[in-house]
């Protein structure tokens, strides 16, 4: 099933009414069955709602009052990402709750995975994953090591039900984990179910575990259902309701569900007051949790999830050892956080800076020394590394298993860093010049020159190769090489009309390109609103670009500007998906 930009209302709890019911018996198995059924049904219910006549009428009404050039984003039905789920659990229950889980991969949509969270589907296998991790988390929460600190009360008898204590605990969990507070009756009902399970199991904590497991795989936890309402500050227009705004802010800045404090402020209406909203956003940006949000955003923007499945031919790159790909990912994210948050530096300098962090495994790849653990590190001048594009993450990820690829690197740079679109190769392309090259052609530049003799290939390679060839001093695993098969490597190139002759020069050329900061702004806006940038929001992006420049290309002011912009919380009616795709591709060029 697919949830495609659903225009959704509040989720009901239709389990009983639709025949799944809550617990018929008090065994854990039947309870789980009920929870899984609930998840499936609610997703179906959401889709049903999205297609209902009532909703269609509502959408029509919105279109009638909203001007066509309105700013804002459509309201979303979003699926929580793996990291958002983990963060939410660990922020509440503690970081010692072990969660090793990987949800189904998201579809990168117009450059961002986050945009794919609102174009996601849930398969049976995924529900099984949710159930499994919920079970593991619930078991840890109630175990002897955690119950003492995580429960606000002690049951009168640990071998029997205690309705009051169960309700107190579950109310706290629900208050934190649910994106939208449920009716009081729902909490009461869950407490009763916990009591029934406890009586059956002769274990108060066992009863809680059963209910907690179902709670953690509830759609109220896994899905973010944005709701809208008329905006009194902009008559005739719609805005996200308070809880939806809190959710969007928290997912954007913290990569987690909003905490009870933020939800309480939302409930009080503070997010609708511009001054109070600014204070809230400022405090969220000042929070240590911002680091999680920034890591998630750049992980998405730079496509670092590709490192999860990266493999190299061990015979060709024996030094690309197990675990190095994840260390490379961590290096880039640490570098980003340090540069943009800790040191509050110009985003563009990220592409020329030698300052980074290093682990022993990466040090071996880079040919430098490193002590155990992660440590701050500055590449020496003779290391020929400057900027994140010379880090192993980008270099190794955008290479083949047995060789480097100027084309893949150039394409990645164009698409990920410049927000440009490189067309796929024509179906009948002849790759023999690069895959089975003439032995006399020792360098990638020579091979690609031969390959590009084919006019069908030349067009795209003119876009990718001048940048990618500048990185040819790094092999397919990211290790520096002064030559290739004994032949000198020519790393000269041109970016946006600016010529360079070495890797440092390329960094400077990138740094001065207007496309560099503009792409970050576009991606950040898309990430914040969990969707592609609609045409109506292009003026907003332009406005944010100017502000980003005014603020010295610092990240925090940009995040703040996005979070406080009217378009962040204003709702426009959805447009057909095809339109968005077409527009996005067009704007990418």
């Amino acid at each position: 099933m697919q949830l495609t930009n659903l225009s959704s209302g509040h989720l009901q709890m239709p389990m009983q009414s639709l025949g799944c019911g809550f617990i018929k018996r008090t065994t854990g198995l039947s309870f789980l069955r009920g929870a899984l059924c609930a998840l499936s049904v609610i997703v179906v219910g959401a889709i049903f709602q999205g297609a209902s006549a009532a909703d269609a009428a509502k959408t029509t009404a919105i279109q009638a009052v909203a001007p066509p050039n309105d700013i804002g984003a459509t309201k979303r039905l979003r699926l929580l990402t793996t990291q958002q789920y983990v963060n939410t659990i660990q922020y509440f229950f503690g970081s010692d709750i072990k969660i090793e889980v990987k949800f189904a991969p998201l579809m990168r949509t117009n450059g961002m995975l986050m945009a794919g969270t609102s174009v996601a589907g849930i398969s049976d296998a995924q529900i099984e994953t949710y159930q499994k991790i919920s079970n593991l988390v619930a078991a840890q929460v109630v175990d002897a090591d955690h119950r003492g600190t995580l429960f606000p009360c002690k049951p009168q008898n640990a071998k029997a039900a205690d309705l009051a204590c169960a309700r107190k605990f579950l109310a706290r969990v629900i208050d934190y984990m649910y994106f939208v507070p449920p009716p009081t009756k729902h909490i009461d009902n869950m407490a009763v179910q916990a009591g029934m399970a406890a009586d059956s199991l002769h274990d108060f904590y066992g009863g809680i575990q059963v209910v907690l497991e179902s709670l953690l795989l509830s759609p109220n936890v896994l899905l973010v259902v944005e709701a809208d309402e008329p905006d009194p500050l902009h008559p005739g227009k719609m805005r996200l309701d308070a809880y939806s705004q809190a959710s969007r802010l928290s997912l954007f800045l913290w990569d987690a569900a909003p905490d009870p404090a933020l939800r309480a402020l939302a409930k009080r209406g503070d997010l609708f007051d511009p001054k109070k909203r600014a204070r809230i956003v400022d405090s969220m940006i000042a929070s240590a949790r911002l680091e999680s949000g920034v890591r998630a955003f750049f992980d998405d923007m730079f496509g670092l999830e590709g490192l999860e499945t990266l493999s190299k031919d061990a015979a060709v790159y024996p030094y690309f050892i197990s675990g190095l790909a994840s260390e490379a990912r961590e290096q880039t994210l640490r570098t980003v956080v340090d540069h943009l948050l800790t040191k509050n530096r110009d985003y563009r300098d990220l592409f020329t800076s030698r300052e980074t962090f290093i682990s022993p495994g990466l040090a071996s790849l880079y040919g430098v020394q490193a002590l155990p653990g992660w440590r701050a590190f500055t590449f020496p001048l003779d290391a020929h590394r400057a900027g994140i594009l010379t880090q192993a993450s980008f270099l190794a990820m955008n290479s083949h298993a047995t060789r480097s690829s100027p084309t893949l690197r150039g394409k990645a740079l164009r698409e990920l860093i410049f927000c440009q679109k490189v067309p796929p190769p024509p179906p009948n392309v002849d790759f023999s010049a690069v895959e089975n090259p003439d032995p006399k052609l020792k360098t990638a530049r020579q091979r690609l020159t031969a390959h590009s003799q084919n006019p069908a290939c030349a067009g795209c390679h003119r876009i990718t190769d001048p940048i990618g060839l500048a990185l040819e001093n790094f092999d397919g695993a990211g290790r520096y090489r002064p030559n290739e098969k004994g032949a000198d490597i020519d790393v000269s190139g041109i970016v946006d009309g600016k010529k360079f002759s070495d890797i440092e020069g390329m960094g400077e050329a990138l740094q001065s390109s207007p496309a560099l900061p503009a792409c970050l702004v576009r991606r950040a806006y898309s990430y914040a609103t969990a969707g592609s940038v609609p045409a109506s929001s292009e003026p907003v992006v332009g406005e944010l670009n100017k502000k980003f420049a005014t603020d010295g290309y610092r990240l925090s002011p940009l995040l703040r500007a996005i979070a406080l912009h009217d378009s962040f919380s204003m709702v426009v009616p959805p447009k057909p998906v095809a339109d968005e795709k077409d527009r996005s591709v067009a704007s990418a060029h």
Binding site: A314, P318, Y319, S322, P360, G367
Partner: protein, 383 residues
């Protein structure tokens, strides 16, 4: 493959193509070493001829007794060096012979097993009632430690070098435990790699050239970090080791040397202490007048370290090192070996008794290039 490496049960370097024996001059003495010109076959030039900071360090990945075994043209072990055959009176055989149980008398534990334990841990130099089989023959690996050519000395396997001092080889060369393919050697090598206690780093400083330099300093340290292997299972060059300046001071030893045609030759013999842990027990071995003959590659090192092994510390390390099953299968009867070691000892006489306390020996070593980090202070080292 190099002759020494084929004599070893595990040729794990995999990255240095060994092709020949290497002969070099040390002062006026000819010595035979087992390393070969790795520089010509080592990995591409990742390190310039002059190493950064004029320093290059290697972590030893192999360190084991250098045992010569004669082979025929097909590489088959001919055992020519053991004309009487391999030694057979291992612990089980000696126990059975000592306590034959033929008269039906019930012996107590203290009279049998504990008596054997006492013999192992408090050995003596009384004549052995079990005949021993020493390695004979003409050839052995090792170095000419004293610069002389004596009747008891060996010749290098290629016949070019005379006066090789390696009486330890004479003592153990026919004991299966010490020979190619024995489980004991496999364990020994494995624990050199796996046990942190054994991490030996050789640092060469003042290197103006990895090919020829008449004055370098060689210092050994104990490293604090594990050895890394690459995706093919080979030891990975270029990892970082921290020098253990807190608990590893006993293993620091400095010597002078020179590099001749890519071979490091120590010019000043010095005493070294080798960490030696196997299974769970840690021990140390002292080696007097130690000399290095190491072929320096850009990423790997290989060669021989020879000296006079202090018999007491070497014997103690040996009996702590192996389990009963290993020495039993390997026919390593410790009390008998002790008597032979003392009988063949050729250096460092006890001032009071006049009996030699050390025996010439040689270790085959190989290693991988590392960055050696010296802690700025001991507090940092403890982290």
């Amino acid at each position: 493959m190099n002759a020494l490496k084929t004599a070893l049960p595990k040729a794990s370097l995999g990255c240095v193509a060994l092709t020949s024996l290497f002969v070099a001059l040390v002062g006026n003495s000819l010595v035979a070493i087992s390393a070969e010109p790795a520089a010509a076959t080592d990995s591409p030039p990742a390190v310039p001829v002059v190493p950064p900071g004029k320093t290059i360090s290697y972590a030893l990945t192999e360190r084991i007794e250098a045992i010569y075994q004669a082979k025929d043209k097909d590489g088959k072990d001919t055992k020519e060096e053991c004309p009487l055959g391999l030694y057979e009176n291992g612990p089980r055989e000696q126990f059975a012979a000592t306590f034959p149980q033929t008269d039906g008398k019930q012996l107590k534990f203290t009279e049998t097993a504990l008596q054997r334990e006492a013999d192992v841990w408090w050995p003596d130099t009384q004549p052995d009632k079990f005949p021993f089989r020493e390695a004979g023959g003409k050839f052995s690996y090792g170095l000419n430690l004293d610069g002389k050519v004596k009747p008891s000395d060996f010749t290098s396997p290629d016949g070019k070098v005379k006066g090789v001092d390696n009486q330890f080889y004479r003592a153990v060369g026919c004991i299966p435990s010490y020979r190619e393919g024995s489980s004991q050697r496999l364990f020994y090598e494995e624990y050199i790699e796996l046990k942190q206690f054994n991490r030996t780093i050789i640092e060469i400083t003042g290197v103006d050239s990895l090919v020829n330099d008449d004055d370098v300093t060689v210092t050994t340290y104990r490293g604090l970090d594990p050895l890394a292997k690459d995706a093919m299972g080979h030891f990975q060059p270029g990892t970082t080791q921290r020098a253990d300046m807190v608990w590893g001071k006993a293993f620091i030893s400095k010597s002078a040397g020179k590099i001749v045609n890519g071979v490091l030759i120590t010019t000043k013999a010095n005493d070294f202490v080798w960490p030696n842990e196997n299974h769970t027990d840690a021990a140390v071995e002292q080696m007097h007048d130690t000399q290095f003959q190491l072929h320096l590659g850009q990423d790997y090192v290989e060669g021989v370290i020879a000296g006079y092994l202090d018999i007491e510390s070497g014997y103690r390390a040996m009996i702590k090192r192996y389990g009963s099953h290993q020495i039993s299968y390997g026919r390593l009867a410790a009390p008998s070996l002790y008597k032979v070691l003392r009988r063949l000892a050729d250096a460092y006489p006890d001032p009071q008794t006049g009996h030699n306390t050390a025996i010439s020996s040689a270790l085959a070593v190989s290693g991988v290039r590392v960055y050696l980090v010296h802690p700025e202070n001991t507090a940092a080292n403890r982290k």
